[in-house]
Amino acid sequence: MSESKETKTRTIAVDLIARVEGEGALRVTVKDGVVQDVELRIFEPPRFFEAFLVGRHYDEVPDIVARICGICPVAYQMSAVHALEQIFAVSVEGALRDLRRMIYCGEWIESHTLHVYMLHAPDFLGYASAIAMAKDHPEIVTRGLRLKKAGNALMTLLGGRSVHPVSVKVGGFSRVPLRRELEGLKEELLWARDAAVETVRWVAGFDYPDFAQDYTFVALRPPDEYPFNEGPILSSGGVKISAVEFEHHFREEQAPYSTALQCRLNGASYLVGPLARLNLNHDHLSPLGKLALADTRLSLPLCNPFHAIVARSVEILYAIEETLRIIDRYEPPPSPSVPVTVRAGTGMACTEAPRGILYHRYRVDGDGLIREAKIVPPTSQNQRRIEEDLRAYLPSVLDLSNEQAAMGCEKVIRCYDPCISCATHFLKLDIQRDR
């Protein structure tokens, strides 16, 4: 093709994507009205976790991996302890297993509410931030803050604090709550349950762009419960594997313009996170969750990335109900943890971080020292899919100004609640920031 004088190259750029965790940028090139390159650039500096875990003792791992992410530390701790317990043939059952679900519920409530109310809703209502939104909608923002606080209270009771909890260990916890401490949370959780129902109703009423995509959904799918810590990995394309087989099917590839790797399932992009979980596990929702979802009048499967805020809200409701259910049947275990006998080996585990499946693999020697670590966070798995969404979305905004088109693209990216801090801990490449 010859270059004509009329050939026009246009660049749509977002230098720093706002209201996401961590730092990323977007660069789109359009030539003669046709989208050429879509590059979601992650310029978080590498922090080398997988490298410096090597040589540390296994019991230090939960404290270290929590620092990969301040927003979802429980997810890192849970994937790590499950992988290590596989090596030591430790089985955590009963009340201890329930408490692990419960602390994960706390993280989902806190993280999802942060995203729904403070990071995402401003897009639908036309504000720059939740604080700006509070001027016109004080009661809504206050409800969101209180709901988020309920999640934090749960994490704080079980973990000592909500950012980087300290009680999670291989074999269980360093301390478990008393019955009356859990009972003390009930009143606020009952309020939170109603607030979560209101939240689903509220977000279902937003104005959504008509933007259905053809996704391969990937989530854990346990036989009889909504997924947190266990379950085979299921894809809507028919893959059903255990976490042990993860690396046979999922491969990370390097994109030269981003400092994060991109993960593919048998060579193709896929989607993890609330939409994928809900689509694959809606039959495991609690009765109230099913009802709230039905009331939205959205038909399953949900294939519009903008509906992720609905899925997230339904999951907040589920997590609250699950917590209440666990509190009602809680009998403190005889010991806060089960004994662990160190042995050498390799273990793999996958759990459901708020943003999707999080895979860990560790190799441990006979002294309990880590010899190898591999971590695949959810945002690296979604990164390819975000770019494909943007490709599909861009034609609808090309008539707009660069600034407005960029704003539209940012909204697509925010549907994913991308956690860029998480996505870059395993970076294999670090390129100068594009200025």
Binding site: L16, I17, A18, R19, V20, E21, G22, E23, E44, P45, P46, R47, F48, A51, F52, R56, H57, E60, D63, I64, R67, I68, C69, G70, I71, P73, L114, M118, L119, P122, A128, S129, A130, I131, A132, A134, P138, V141, L145, K149, N152, G160, R161, V163, H164, V166, S167, K169, F173, S174, R175, Q254, P336, E410, S421, K428, L429, D430, I431, Q432
Partner: protein
Amino acid sequence: MSDKNKVKPLVTPMRPKLGIFKFASCDGCQLSILNLEDDLLALGQALDIAYFPEASSDMREGPYDIALVEGSITTPEDAHRILSVREQATVLITIGACATAGGIQALRNWADVDAFKRAVYPSPQYIQSLSTSTAISEHVRVDFELWGCPIDKAQLLRVLTDLLAGVQPRLPTHSVCIECKRREIVCVMVAKGIPCLGPVTRTGCGAICPSMGRDCYGCFGPAEGMHEGPGLPPNTASLAKEFHQRLNLIPVEVLRRFRGINGAVKPFREESQAWERNEA
């Protein structure tokens, strides 16, 4: 340490302009700001939050009356960017272990980073990362340091309200042990023989770890010497000796205790290096 924490009383405009900046970190300290929940909206009224990309797409340029800085310096461009943050800020406060001490990612400081890159990276020629992770104060003047991994949100609120009131902010610098005694928590080291960093770690968390039945792992950084006076290092050598002689930790285990979340800050760094020599 302590002369850094003398802030010139802020000649505050009615609603000081606040900027929140991120370098290499997990975002947990910024999340602690959002976790202020009950006080967040009031904070938004008392301060003009002009730059906080994590929470707002309204990003306004400086100068800022107060800059909160999260994260450590790990890349050449970040070493450059912090200079511009400093230029734009009247008062610069580091929040958290990464910004104040280099953070967990400073564990790279002991690695042979070139060999490390060649071993780990398929294309080491692209690696622009610095061979170290360093605290903000190693690059620019810092007016106040808020310790913790993550910071304690009540401490942050206190520092901000002090600044708004034109008062020199002050936070306790004594050890976690004092906090344990106040809370009547049974000593995990004396009662259970668990090697605990509480005696040399700065208070501020509320002695969370011992209250959860485990050892303190030093996430609030070094306390200041209790007998010798504020500004002086804690007695890490004595504690390390206790770990080794009474609790039977081998030298590399003593080393690992000190080389953690705040491993790069002087008292902990020097103690871990002393045990590296013992090991060799």
